[in-house]
Symmetry: C2
Subunit: 114 residues, 2 copies
């Protein structure tokens, strides 16, 4: 299956124009689930809006008001879901968006024009 941006000349398509079978629904739900949490959404939003396009894990507990293990847990979820990628640089762990994966997901939410 996959979720991809629309053609430019594509107007007013209905929502989710594909019949999902059980396996596809399961797969898509897993990604959505990873995003269906306020802390993780803010995490993604933080990374997406970072100047450099990446964020150091070290800043996150203070920024989002959760303990360090909790942040680590959420980061792990996002990496596993393919939403973030992780790079170790010295002592620090840096996180970036996986635009390739998000492009598909983002296209899920493209609004129908009237």
């Amino acid at each position: 299956m996959f979720l991809v941006p629309l053609d430019d000349d594509f107007c007013c398509p209905p929502f989710l124009r594909v019949e999902l079978d059980e396996a596809e629904a399961e797969e898509l739900a897993a990604v959505m689930k990873a995003l269906a949490d306020p802390v993780r959404l803010r995490l993604v939003s933080t990374v997406a809006n970072a100047e450099s396009g990446e964020v150091c894990a070290c800043d996150l507990p203070a920024l989002l008001g959760r303990s360090q293990p909790t942040m680590s847990h959420h980061l792990g979820q996002l990496v596993q879901a393919g939403i973030l990628e992780r790079e170790q640089r010295g002592k620090w762990a840096w996180f970036r968006l996986r635009h390739d994966r998000l492009a598909r997901l983002g296209s899920l939410f493209v609004a129908a024009e009237p």
Copy 2:
């Protein structure tokens, strides 16, 4: 929200180019949560692909292989999240997508220029 065939010539769409505060994240997470379930995704996909744009609840248990109370539960979630709307017609309940809400959801995910 669209699911379309793969297309090669796209690059790096923006994603969640908005800094979410705690309340916004909570609100968005609630909607995502409603979509983050395989049965509910298939439900939405079924409604979206219906000829008439709507689906009778009576068909859903057989179609998706869950008990009738379970379907009712999921439909309730989607209605409460503002993803579906419900109309009672005689004995039957019919469900439609709420394109207005879905469009708004889309605007958060795919926003500005790179």
